[in-house]
């Protein structure tokens, strides 16, 4: 029984069957990659997991609880954090404030009318945020406007924000899309370090095979809205079906 169990999920947009009969089980503390050609339904599947979309059929269970019909913020409070394809951070706020918000969300829940005490007097939150910034190697940028940072730094910040919530499952949607090689390698190292040091499960959607094979210990190949094969990385590499559907096309 995995931490995330997807059973018979289907999703239709008008005439397009985006997902049909998707079964997926993500084991606790694994790094599970979901790959597939463009239009295979990777993003649709991800959106079904975080509450942005509600599948037409099937069930999605996280830690034994159904996530279907819950709002994104509720699913996040259950322990699923999401990293977006283009970094979604609070651009108008400073880096430190960016890091404090998930810490507050973790401590106070989805809403707290705390309108009369100063932010900077919340010692526990401040310490936690500073600590996380140090871990992400960006303590020197704490007073910078988040929007002014490089894309690589924004990605680091976003991952740090997700981690500060201590999620059980971290979902990454093409975390290295549009990045330079050096930034990509940094991100790979960061994710490797996270999965080794923390009690966390990582699910990653990725195009870049270099990233997938450096990180994943389990891979699901999605094609035309349905899982083609699920196996260990070394077996995926040699699988003729996968080569035909995906790797062959890009080679």
């Amino acid at each position: 029984m995995g931490i995330l169990e997807v059973k018979n999920v289907g999703k239709r947009f008008g005439g397009l069957q985006a997902l049909s009969d998707v079964n997926l089980s993500i084991k606790e503390n694994s790094v599970h990659a979901i790959i597939g050609p463009n239009g295979a339904g990777k993003s649709t599947l991800l959106n079904c997991l975080v509450g942005k979309l509600i599948p037409d059929t099937g069930s999605v269970m996280f830690g034994g609880q159904s996530v279907l019909g819950r709002a994104p913020y509720e699913i996040n409070q259950m322990g699923i954090s999401r990293v977006f394809q283009t970094p979604e951070i609070f651009g108008d706020l400073t880096v430190l404030e960016n890091m404090m918000i998930p810490c507050l969300a973790k401590r106070d829940g989805s809403f707290e009318l705390n309108a009369f005490s100063a932010v900077m007097s919340q010692r526990d939150i401040l310490e936690k945020a500073e600590h996380m910034l140090e871990e992400m190697n960006m303590a020197d940028k704490r007073h910078m406007h988040a929007a002014a940072m490089s894309r690589g730094d924004k990605r680091r910040l976003e991952i740090g924000m997700c981690l500060s919530q201590e999620p059980r499952l971290l979902l990454l949607d093409e975390p290295t899309a549009g990045m330079a090689r050096a930034d990509t390698n940094n991100t790979i190292d960061l994710l490797k370090q996270i999965s080794e040091e923390r009690d966390i499960t990582i699910a990653i959607i990725e195009h870049d095979m270099h990233v997938v094979f450096s990180l994943a210990n389990r891979i699901t190949v999605l094609a035309q809205g349905t899982p083609l094969v699920e196996d260990d990385p070394q077996n995926i590499r040699g699988n003729p079906k996968v080569r035909e559907a995906y790797l062959g096309e890009t080679a």
């Binding site: 404090m100 918000i101 705390n114 309108a115 005490s117 932010v119």
Partner: protein, 399 residues
């Protein structure tokens, strides 16, 4: 001090000094000089400065922090005014219960309107609030005449019950609003040489309320709640995927700013106990938007400056007429004098809206941060010049 850091304490002190010494600051010209018409230090106008300041501070909590642009905030001001006048009619002429009721009723009203309007964001939210405000205006103007007295406006009468006070004074007139016997209209005039300074009880009550309102606004800006509101403006998507429900945050901000508007409406009725439907019209809602943007949305002191600026324009600039202009330019040859008056004529008197519009455009285009940004730029320029000078003077002797 008071749980604020040094910068915020300074800001609060500046506002305190400005409001407390306003009768002097706004009266720089001697009474009989030609410039006396630019004096704004009379009670009626000073009251309006601070009341609209409160209105704009509250509006800024919603618009400046969350970015939700409400075009219907005058509705809450109007509701506050009606509530206060009803309190004067039914209970007593003391302003405290009247102001409390206006804040509460406006808050409830904002809760209902906000709950519906906040289902949408961006332009749709603005349109929904505008629609609600216009609906409230029409209701007050015609349908709800028994409550609002329609187009005449709600006024006090000699046969009002006023259970905790007198229906009429001994000499048979309507009693005046007061704070435990201290009449709002009573004014002490202090003549210093050619100057005449006026200290009005009503003004000082409004000023104290403004300082309190400003203090509360600072606390909100610096609180975790305020940070969440800025997060709403910055990236709602990230907020929802960070386990935060943005809806109650925006609704709370909407209700708080509605209560500020109610407070302003209650004060307005306390200074002059009548309430009319025109207070709720969309032009009144637009005015507070102008004030906030002109002063600097999202800054603490901006809305107060914007409110003062616009009210000063409305009341002082509009009083300049052709005769005054002729007086100013009388030293010029007749032809040029007439020509100048002809050119300036559309911008003054009733045309003050034109001048305000041009100023507003200039501010939005060149100073998106409003008057506050303008001030910051001037200070920045001065300090750069100063440091350049001091560097020069440091290097000069060495050479």
């Amino acid at each position: 001090m008071f749980g604020l850091d040094k910068r915020d304490t300074t800001l609060l002190l500046i506002v305190t000094v400005l409001t407390m010494f306003a009768p002097f600051i706004l009266n720089p010209f001697p009474t009989d000089s030609g410039l006396a018409q630019f004096n704004a230090g009379y009670p009626d106008l000073m009251q309006r400065f601070v009341i609209f300041g409160i209105f704009a501070i509250g509006f800024n909590i919603l618009f400046g922090l969350t970015g939700y642009l409400s075009f219907g905030h005058a509705a809450f001001l109007g509701v506050g005014s009606y509530s206060a006048v009803w309190m004067f009619k039914l209970l007593s002429m003391n302003v405290i219960p009247a102001i409390l009721l206006s804040v509460i009723i406006a808050g409830l009203f904002a809760l209902v309107i906000g709950y519906v309007s906040l289902r949408r964001s961006g332009i749709y939210f603005s349109i929904l609030t505008l629609a609600f405000a216009q609906m409230s205006f029409s209701l007050a103007y015609s349908v709800l005449t028994p409550v609002t007295n329609g187009e005449t406006g709600l006024q006090l009468a000699l046969d009002d019950p006023r259970i905790l006070g007198a229906s009429a004074t001994a000499d048979g007139s309507i009693p005046v609003t007061s704070l435990f016997g201290l009449e709002m209209r009573s004014t002490y005039s202090m003549a210093v040489g050619p100057w005449d300074f006026q200290f009005n009880v009503g003004y000082y009550l409004c000023a104290l309320v403004l300082i309190a309102a400003f203090y509360v606004a600072i606390r909100i800006f610096r609180s975790p709640f305020g940070m969440m509101l800025r997060a709403v403006k910055s990236n709602q998507q990230r907020m929802n995927y960070t386990g935060l429900n943005s809806k109650p945050y925006t609704l709370a901000a909407f209700v708080i700013s509605g209560m500020y508007a109610g407070l302003a409406g209650g004060l307005m009725a306390s200074m002059d106990p009548l309430a009319g439907a025109e207070r709720m019209q969309w032009t009144a809602s637009g005015e507070v938007v102008l004030m906030t943007i002109l002063g600097g949305a999202g800054t603490l002191i901006g809305p107060v400056l914007g409110a003062g600026f616009i009210k000063y324009f409305e009341n002082i600039f509009s009083k300049i007429n052709d005769n005054v202009l002729h007086g100013w330019f009388s030293f010029l040859p007749d032809g040029i004098e007439d020509f100048l008056v002809f050119v300036i004529h559309p911008f003054i008197g009733k045309g003050w809206h034109l001048t305000l519009g041009i100023l507003f455009m200039l501010v939005v285009i060149y100073l998106p941060g409003g008057l506050v940004e303008g001030g910051q730029r001037v200070v920045g320029w001065l300090s750069r010049r100063k440091s350049a000078q001091s560097r020069q003077s440091e290097t000069n002797p060495a050479e």
